[in-house]
Symmetry: D2
């Protein structure tokens, strides 16, 4: 129900992986119930069906590889909206039941994508370890806690949950990688603008011609709306029809974004509004991108000034 904070949360499981860690950064989720789902569609269907109030699912750069399915689900079925984003550093640890030098390890268990992301570290620091596949980061930690393997690659939360000792931390090859999660709810009024918001959209256009995408970007550019992400997806449904997922800087309640959305609505075959929500900046970190100072003449004040000017000239007050 709009205005009522969610209390029943579902997230992409299993327990002990990054999605749970991301969810628990939200105070409301700490107080509420948290249920793992087997898949993104299952998590979102729980919200659609009313069994949960909100679902936390990965959006971008996830080690779980669930990005495409999240986007397709948000664009394709009954409308849902993103009301929060959570950005987590992708942080892997090597954990064991007892302290041990990594170079002494003969086996390490890991989810294949976690292993892929720590591959150079492993080659350098645990050159003799054979890597065994696990179904999830959490499963790797669990198997290590059970004594089946010497060590696991897992999330810090997984090591803690299974009372493992961290024998090396920050072992991912790309130290600045992050995963971005979305808290998804049923449609309702968006949270109030904060001055640093993201608006997510799925737009589809009829042709694969670059000209069509150019028209989309022009609608944003002339209103000074910046783009922080773009991803094309073949829709599968109709030949030659493409969908684009866009993350824009700003909030649907703002004049510039409102005008840009109307423009997109006019030129695109379809525009799905996926939510306006506060941008999550990692605390203690430098901002992820420089503060963008748009072209001159596109500040909020300029928008207000131009509206007042138009009103004057429509009434014949020039000069």
């Amino acid at each position: 129900m709009p205005g009522v904070p969610p209390t029943r949360f579902v997230y992409l499981g299993p327990e002990g992986t990054f999605a749970e860690q991301a969810l628990r950064t939200l105070a409301a989720a700490e107080r509420g119930t948290r249920t793992p789902a087997r898949s993104v569609p299952e998590a979102l269907d729980a919200v659609r069906g009313g069994e949960a109030d909100a679902a936390l699912v990965p959006l971008e750069n996830s080690i779980g590889g669930a990005i495409g399915i999240t986007l397709d689900e948000l664009a394709g079925a009954d409308p849902l909206v993103i009301s929060r984003e959570v950005v987590l550093p992708v942080e892997f640890v090597l954990a064991a039941r007892a302290p041990a030098p990594p170079e002494s390890l003969a086996t390490v268990i890991a989810h294949p994508q976690a292993a892929a992301q720590c591959r150079r570290w492993l080659r350098q620091h645990a050159p003799d370890a054979t890597v065994v596949d696990a179904l999830s980061n959490s499963a790797a930690a669990e198997a290590t806690a059970a004594g089946d393997y010497q060590a696991a690659i897992c999330a810090p939360v997984g090591a803690a949950r299974h009372r493992l000792t961290v024998i090396a931390d920050k072992i991912a090859d790309h130290p600045h990688a992050v995963t971005r999660f979305a808290l998804v709810t049923r449609p309702g009024p968006p949270p109030a603008p904060t001055g640093d918001d993201v608006t997510s959209l799925a737009v589809s256009i009829s042709h694969d011609r670059v000209g069509a995408l150019l028209a989309v970007l022009m609608e944003l550019a002339v209103r000074g709306v910046n783009l922080t992400r773009i991803e094309s997806r073949p829709t599968g449904e109709r030949l030659g029809r493409y969908a684009f997922f866009l993350d824009c800087t700003g909030h649907v309640a703002e004049a510039r974004m409102g005008e840009a959305l109307q423009g997109l609505r006019r030129v695109c075959a379809e525009v799905r509004f996926l939510g306006s929500y506060p941008r999550h900046r990692l605390s203690g970190a430098a901002p992820e991108e420089p503060v963008v100072t748009g072209p001159p003449g596109l500040s909020d004040r300029d928008f207000a000034d131009s509206a007042a000017w138009l009103s004057r000239i429509r009434h014949g007050q020039l000069g």
Copy 2:
């Protein structure tokens, strides 16, 4: 005074030239007073000073060559607005006191620009005629009526006024040429939209970079506003600053034009609104340009639909 139809008209003189002919196509001018002015600045100053209610001056493709000065006057001094346009075919006749075959003529008197526009015709049909300069089309007719010259190139109205016989008509080398005149008044509410209107603007941008003009055109293109004329003028006032005169399809009262004007206001150093007024199409003629069917999604209905849609998503009503 806004709302009160003008009764005192001034026009670029002298009497008997195309400007008078254009002015007399307006019913109000037929009923009111019509005073010739010696120059465009003088005509416009009469309106500014309140001695006249409206001035008819050439805007485009004039044989009088007054275009640049008209634009500079409209852009540079106290604001005035265009409330009507009048398009006249540039129609020259060869007139004499009595019928005579053109090839028999030894002298023809003409304004130099009229002579230039009929040059090929004269070479072919009056190859033996020496052309003598006159100060205006009207002066050429007057001198012929006085018996000083055998024949004059003049406007049909000039031949009639001086009771001359037309011995050849439509003698201009470019048969489709037109002159476009503007009826200029003091600022006031624009006439109501007719569905086929022109909005004239003078915009100035800070650089001569093509990118700056591109930004101007993008503001129009994304709102489906068509351009029917563009002309750059060095402003003379500041180095590297350019002014552009634009004629756009549409009316300031319309949503699309309102949004486009606001966009221009934001990105341009200065925007001078020069009026919204009915497009004048020559009666009995084919339209001057094809009816422009803009890109799909830019009809007035689409503008209304997109505004309603934005309102819904701002209130959380999706789907």
Copy 3:
């Protein structure tokens, strides 16, 4: 070595999954050696290190979720190029040791993402089945063949390899979904143009401003180069710097693409050429997109004509 066809192939393993199936559509791979790799980076490193001649890895819409890592590997480390693409329908079957009606099943084993993609089918046709996770599609088939589970969701190739009976085919919820694989080699001259080619690029720009991406698309649009895919990736390396992966229609040897690439080189912080190769169209299927007929004036003949014209005017031959 350029010009020498590859004989030693590596692919994203394990055996019996879609990547192997895709690789075996290539005649050279059928004749050569085929070695599974544990991860995309491992596969690509085998090519970089010279232990393999070519690697087949997923590029897009993969059920393996390896897209991001493939793109990052292609953009970030020593240059490699794509010399072929293989598009496979994402086709899942339900397979068991003996024929059985799906609705009778109590357990089904599946890779979590395969299960996610067949979720609606399962809910409808096997409502009583509990889904158990497997590490890969191949592992699911193997466990079923071993008698551990009643049925597996797997690729057709996996069912065949483990001599399972297909009890339902085409069970994916999105019937037109495809996975796109790339055959990656060390840099060398690209294969000859076929008239229906793709050029893949990774470009990075310095700002997240929509204007920067607009400039990239303009470089393509003015040369009539169409875009069939775009994906942004945060580079992680520098704040506020974005990479875009682009698939364009055309071949680096063609005039239009050459000019567009030069333009991108000039305006982007970095352009990585990732290969020109024949577009793979699924046989027997309708083309995935309509044949794009670009704007008038952008055919190859127009490019040749404009080059000849420029040469003439540079030599003063007008008219």
Copy 4:
């Protein structure tokens, strides 16, 4: 004949006006013959017919009002090219047979457009003078020299020719106004690039849609070609077809301009090359516009670098 400097010059007459003054700034014209023509078409036809080698005609902001006809003649008939431009300050003087205070004058003779350009000055400094029309600035000076009128508004060259005393100089209301003249010849190889050149074009597009002009500007913008003038002209020949006159920064021999011209050739209905020639900057004056530093990545060096890079990747040399 290409390569042979012109010796027979024609100019828009009569003698003693700005066009003659502009022509005489050229050393070759000082040495050669100089013949006045009655009109721009007559001047250009003298070059077309071989009776003259070059014609000097006004291009822009002329007091003679000949701009439109010059453009139409350059665009419409047999090709001619501009090989030089001459920019003259529009400088009017008040001249009489003997010194006299302006405020004492009762009559002044002037070409109507000269009078219009000095109107505010006259109102302030010669408030009692009646202005009488002359056919040209030169005719005004001549009549004053003959004793028919007290004073004339004319060009400095006209006062000198008729041995008049300048009683006030720089009397034009806009002190920075200039007239731009073109020296027009039969087609031939353009003069060598100087590093500060102008290329003039007439392009026609099929629609009056802003999108069509946007496409033209994009062709220039992506190559970093700046625009210093744009003027639309209805062609009169076909309904809805527009011609644009463009002055661009650069020379046809340069890579960027060559590429841009080819692009225009492809997207426009017609492109008429009107010449590449050195930009004329008024000596002793500040440059008319700031030196334009294009966007990064569009220097000549960047063009050369991108061509070399393309050659490398076409040969498989990456990295």
